[in-house]
């Protein structure tokens, strides 16, 4: 059965449209004036103004490797992060730690550790899965480069971003 939808009855002022037009113009003008008098600010002038200071603790930026208080790489090359990484951004080439090394009993370390930042989706899975708390998502977000090669972070770069983390870190941070 057809339903007859009642059209609203418009008053004469509404039908001749001009009052509504004036109202609309007033609203847009009010917005323009508010912006011009700097009463309201919406946009951030990005490269000069940044949000860094307000960045929340759980922000997920570029993943990076860390060393511990002895300067040892925490990563033991278990490759769990490589397997879990959804877009397969991580490539690890493991190597054995030579017997004369101070940390020989750790047995394994990464020879090469690369994260392709074009592929990385900043999901944080690598951080979550890592048994050694060796990989963390930092607050760096402006990852840029002029070529694809430049966008692949190698081990050196990853340690540079990551720096040192001492002691046990609460990796099961609820927010992450």
């Amino acid at each position: 059965m057809a339903i007859v939808v009642q059209r609203p009855k418009l008053t004469l002022a509404e039908r001749c449209y001009l009052p509504a037009l004036a109202k609309g113009l007033r609203i847009t003008l009010a917005h323009a004036v508010r912006i011009l008098r700097r009463k309201k600010k919406v946009t951030m002038q990005y490269p000069e103004e940044r949000w860094d200071s307000e960045m929340p603790e759980h922000y997920r930026g570029a993943p990076a490797l860390v060393t511990d208080e002895h300067g040892r790489e925490r990563c033991v090359s278990c490759q769990l992060c490589e397997f879990i990484c959804p877009p397969r951004a991580i490539t690890i080439v493991p190597e054995e730690i030579p017997a004369e090394d101070r940390w020989a009993k750790v047995e394994k370390r990464p020879k090469e550790f690369e994260i392709d930042m074009i592929r990385c989706i900043y999901c944080g899975m690598c951080e979550e899965v890592c048994p050694e708390q060796a990989i963390f998502l930092r607050k760096d977000y402006a990852i840029t480069g002029t070529s694809r090669e430049e966008m692949v972070h190698d081990k050196e770069k990853l340690y540079e971003i990551g720096g040192v983390r001492e002691g046990l870190v609460n990796k099961w941070n609820e927010l992450k």
Partner: protein
């Protein structure tokens, strides 16, 4: 025609079109972007300034960068188009817009030269004749593109033009009746002496100087103004009447298949038409280049020729008024939503056509009553 006349005409054409109108077109695009931004609580293009420096100039370099970008982009011609008309169409939208400014008086006199390129005695008629050509650009673009969205845009454009051109022409008849004159320069001079059409507060137009007729005529003049301005909106294909373009329904309407500078010509043609439209509104209803309150006569004193500084002031006044109107156009664009197609046709045929026709009779009646002695 003597050589000096030719040189003077060429100088006027060069000065007006290339030094004023075209930069104005470019900068009204910038103004559009900045004004839309502040209306929508944004910032807009505020970076591009002098290249290779940190001088920002509030983004005033943007139009130049845009122009270079348009020139450098790939000019792609799809295989399925009708090449000849496809190439012709963008030019046909830009050229009429620029042609019409030939009859607009953009200043009084400078060194004894009238500041109008062609002092025709049929100014408004010339403008209508040329301006309606620009619809061919859109229709041809729609047709030649050989694809359905541009086609629909072209069809819409032609039917929109037909419904608005009538109201546009008719709404001007009362104005011409009031002035009894078709020369735009003479119309402006009359307004300079006896009050603008919508502001008759000095000279013979003022009520205390016996200008009762002008006060009565304010009412039809106001109707003519509303109808004419709205029709100009439709004529320039700007929101709320941008149905030929209408990106929510027709992708980009008639210029869907265009790229690079050809697209830019459509885009800039719209702005050029807007500037000329504003110029026409200003000339007819707001006294063109004249200063308000009879200051022209005051500044002139008893000089017979307009001094050069006053001539410059007049030119400045004209473009200041035009700029004001362009800002109004932009303001309206970012306020109103697009009309539905049947609403647009209804407005054109049922409201504006009748209103304009009625207005002619009202004006004639008032004129008979007040000026018949």
């Amino acid at each position: 025609m003597e050589l000096t006349d030719l040189i003077i005409s060429a100088a006027k054409i060069g000065g007006l079109i290339f030094a004023v109108i075209l930069p104005m077109v470019a900068y009204s695009v910038w103004a559009e972007r900045r004004v839309s931004a502040i209306i929508q609580d944004r910032v807009g293009p505020n970076r591009v300034g002098v290249p290779f420096t940190k001088i920002g100039l509030a983004g005033l370099g943007q139009p130049i960068a845009d122009g270079i970008k348009f020139l450098l982009k790939e000019d792609f011609t799809p295989g399925h188009v009708n090449k000849f008309y496809y190439w012709l169409a963008p030019a046909l939208t830009m050229v009429p817009a620029l042609l019409t400014c030939a009859v607009l008086p953009f200043g009084s006199e400078l060194f004894g030269e009238k500041m109008v390129i062609a002092d025709l005695s049929v100014g408004p008629l010339f403008i209508f004749a040329i301006a309606s050509l620009s619809v061919y650009g859109i229709v041809l673009a729609g047709w030649a593109s050989n694809s359905k969205y541009p086609f629909l845009g072209g069809v819409r454009s032609s039917s929109q033009m037909i419904s608005y051109e009538i109201a546009l022409g008719l709404s001007l008849v009362p104005v011409l009746l009031i002035f009894g004159e078709l020369n735009l320069g003479a119309i402006v001079r009359e307004q300079s002496e006896n009050g603008w059409l919508l502001l008759p507060l000095w000279g013979e137009g003022a009520i205390w100087n016996g200008g009762v007729d002008r006060l009565l005529l304010l009412f039809p003049a106001l109707i003519a103004f509303v109808v004419f301005t709205t029709s100009i909106f439709a004529e320039t294909n700007r929101l709320p009447f941008d149905l030929p373009e209408c990106e929510t329904e027709l992708v980009a309407g008639y210029h869907t298949e265009y790229s690079s500078m050809k697209f830019a010509l459509f885009f800039l043609g719209e702005y050029a038409a807007m500037i000329i439209g504003s110029g026409l509104i200003v000339t007819l209803f707001f006294g063109g280049w004249s200063l308000p309150f009879g200051w022209d006569a005051m500044l002139m004193g008893d000089a017979t020729e307009v001094p050069w500084w006053l001539g410059l002031i007049h030119i400045g006044t004209f473009f200041a008024k035009v700029t004001g109107f362009i800002l109004f156009f932009i303001w309206v664009r970012w306020t109103l939503p697009r009309f539905r197609y049947d609403q647009l046709m209804k407005l054109g045929w049922i409201v504006f056509f009748e209103l304009a026709l009625l207005n002619v009779f009202i004006t004639a009646g008032i004129l008979i009553l007040t000026r018949s002695n």
